[in-house]
């Protein structure tokens, strides 16, 4: 294994990692000066497109391509929404970026504003990230005080404002049109698409929504060039003409039953096994893993036998998961009951379904009730069939909901039942009960 030198996390933990002076001393805002001095907005977009950068928030859509969906010659305003509503269970990489190296993110935001001609960027920060909010606000204030935000940035004909906007504890605000609705002051009900935000987004104007880590990557793509970015990660599968590749470094979050939980930066494509063994210090208490969530709760499950799956944009899908998601790996050991894991998962989605679409609102609620019944020792074998059927019938893919929350709620259920069926059946037949959860109601 060759040692990978971190790029996105290179300044984390260093003294002065949050200040403008510290960032500049490490070459910060060099990429912005280069873009404003030597490149047109279209050229910056082209660089990002050439790099193959795919969105880090979960969907993996090519970032530069997304930017080109904006209407040409629009009179404006155009908005950039930065998705810092990171709420996918197991995911905390954007929190670390914002808390530890806010200017790296802000430089990416400014580059994106320049490339897309956005005049205002709203950074939607989940309420739970109080420290991120304060560190980012301080960094924004520093930028205004140093002519790096506002009018005529760096003396050029480039103007941009950045405002931080705090959420209020709703997972659905991470869905890009839910985020926009929430920003506008409404309940965060995702919109039917089309129109996509690029055409009609925040305040009915063209809008780009990008994830924090994606924008941090933009900083380095402009600074080091797309060839550097493409030298890291996994090229497209030549046998799959639709594969856009999995280029660049990725922040992997590792949590659950490992000896050293944490966030580690590696080239896209590391296997779960290498991540757990080499970077997480192995499974805790000398035990074996039973399985894991490969990329945030909504991606489904991998069994221990599937741990050689590469965590690039294709790997988890080939193993039956929904996708790479946020690349947040949650490991559970061999002593953990899959019944408890699935109940916890279903409870999360029942709590976070926004209630707009009936199949999701009712489906997530019933999946929680049925898994609760199973864990209380009153399950029936046909419950597994019902759960599977609900899991298959809710979501964008079957065409029954407006957004992907329901796909993410159904996927772990489908995966758990197909991959751990024997354990569910044995549990139901035995009539055992999971330990009582005192005090904790369903909602």
């Amino acid at each position: 294994m060759t040692e990978f030198e971190p790029v996105l996390l290179r300044r984390v933990g260093k003294p002065d990692s949050q200040s403008l002076a510290g960032y500049r001393a490490d070459g910060g805002y060099r990429a912005l000066a280069k873009a404003l001095g030597d490149l047109t907005p279209a050229q910056v977009t082209e660089l990002v497109k050439d790099s193959g950068l795919r969105g880090r928030g979960g969907a993996g859509f090519p970032c530069g391509v997304k930017w080109t969906f904006l209407p040409k010659d629009h009179p404006g305003p155009i908005y950039l929404c930065v998705n810092a509503d990171e709420s996918e269970p197991g995911t905390f990489n954007n929190r670390i970026l914002m808390e530890e190296d806010p200017h790296q993110v802000l430089e990416g935001i400014l580059l994106a504003c320049y490339a897309t001609r956005a005049s205002v960027a709203y950074v939607y920060v989940r309420y739970e990230y109080g420290r991120s909010f304060r560190v980012m606000q301080q960094a924004v204030d520093e930028l205004y005080a140093n002519n790096l935000l506002g009018r005529n940035i760096l003396g050029k004909d480039f103007h941009a404002e950045v405002y931080l906007h705090r959420g209020a504890g709703a997972y659905i605000c991470g869905e890009e049109t839910g985020l926009i609705e929430s920003l506008e002051g409404k309940r965060a009900w995702p919109r039917i698409k089309p129109p996509f935000p690029a055409v009609e987004g925040a305040f009915r104007k063209p809008t780009v929504v990008n994830n924090v880590e994606t924008l941090a990557c933009v900083t380095h793509i402009v600074d080091r060039g797309p060839d550097w970015f493409k030298s890291v990660g996994v090229p497209p599968d030549p046998k799959n003409p639709r594969d856009a590749g999995s280029y660049g470094p990725k922040l992997y979050c590792l949590s659950g039953h490992v000896n050293r939980p944490g966030c580690v930066e590696l080239p896209l494509g590391v296997s779960v096994r290498e991540l757990v063994e080499e970077h997480g210090g192995g499974v805790w208490k000398g035990r074996r893993a039973k399985g894991c969530i490969p990329g945030g709760l909504s991606m489904g499950f991998l069994t221990e036998q599937e741990f050689d799956t590469p965590l690039d944009f294709n790997g988890p899908g080939k193993a039956g998961c929904l996708g790479l998601g946020t690349a947040a790996v949650i490991v559970f050991d061999e002593t953990t009951s899959i019944v408890d894991v699935l109940y916890n998962t279903c409870r999360f989605f029942a709590h976070e379904s926004c209630g707009q679409c009936t199949p999701c609102r009712e489906g997530t609620g019933w999946m929680m009730k049925i898994t609760d019944r199973i864990r209380r020792g009153r399950g029936r074998l046909e419950d597994l069939h019902i759960l599977d059927e609900i899991g298959r019938s809710i979501g964008i893919m079957p065409g029954t909901t407006i957004c992907g929350l329901a796909d993410g709620a159904g996927w772990p259920v489908k995966n758990a039942i197909s991959k751990f069926r024997a354990e569910f059946e044995e549990f139901i037949r035995s009539g055992r009960k999971s330990p009582e959860l005192e005090l904790v109601g369903a909602h």
Partner: protein, 159 residues
């Protein structure tokens, strides 16, 4: 009688410059009020609506969607203590932590201690999974809150 002081009004009005539409100030305004009053009374909803040229029903609609804001029937205590119960924390004792904190404080999730100091709530993933089990004290993470650290945490919040 007005619930919002002049200071709170000015804090809310200052947000208007950030957005092209007044309605976008709804969430910032609700935060300003709840931070100061520990709840958003119905009268404050009316006054926010007035400041933003909205119907009070529109503010109420947004406010109640989030399940985050309290009305005057159930104001927050001085500290809101959120205990994460999502999978990464559950795997490392989050449910037991919530149970123990409930016992220690003598309240169920959602409740506030009799002295008005601590409101206990469960949370879905709060994004500090490397330090599971974790909690939020208002909006600051406290990580690795194992059962042996419960007394220390509660004492610090009661002080």
């Amino acid at each position: 009688m007005s619930v919002l002081t002049e200071e709170l009004r000015q804090k809310i009005v200052a947000y208007l410059a950030h957005y092209p539409r007044k309605q976008a100030v709804t969430l910032p305004a609700l935060h300003v009020v709840q931070d100061a009053l520990r709840c958003v009374p119905l009268e404050a909803v009316r006054e926010i609506a007035d400041l933003l040229d909205l119907s009070p029903a529109e503010v109420q609609d947004t406010m109640t969607f989030y399940g985050f804001f309290r009305d005057e029937q159930a104001p927050l205590g001085r500290t809101r203590l959120w205990v994460c119960r999502s999978l990464p924390c559950m795997l490392r004792g989050g449910e037991e932590l919530l149970g123990r904190l409930g016992e220690k404080l003598g309240v169920r999730p959602g409740g506030t201690t009799a002295d008005g100091k601590i409101t206990l709530e469960f949370a879905e993933c709060i994004g500090a999974c490397e330090g599971a089990p974790c909690v939020l004290v208002n909006d600051e993470h406290v990580m690795n809150v194992t059962l042996d650290r419960v007394d220390q945490l509660v004492d610090s919040l009661r002080a």
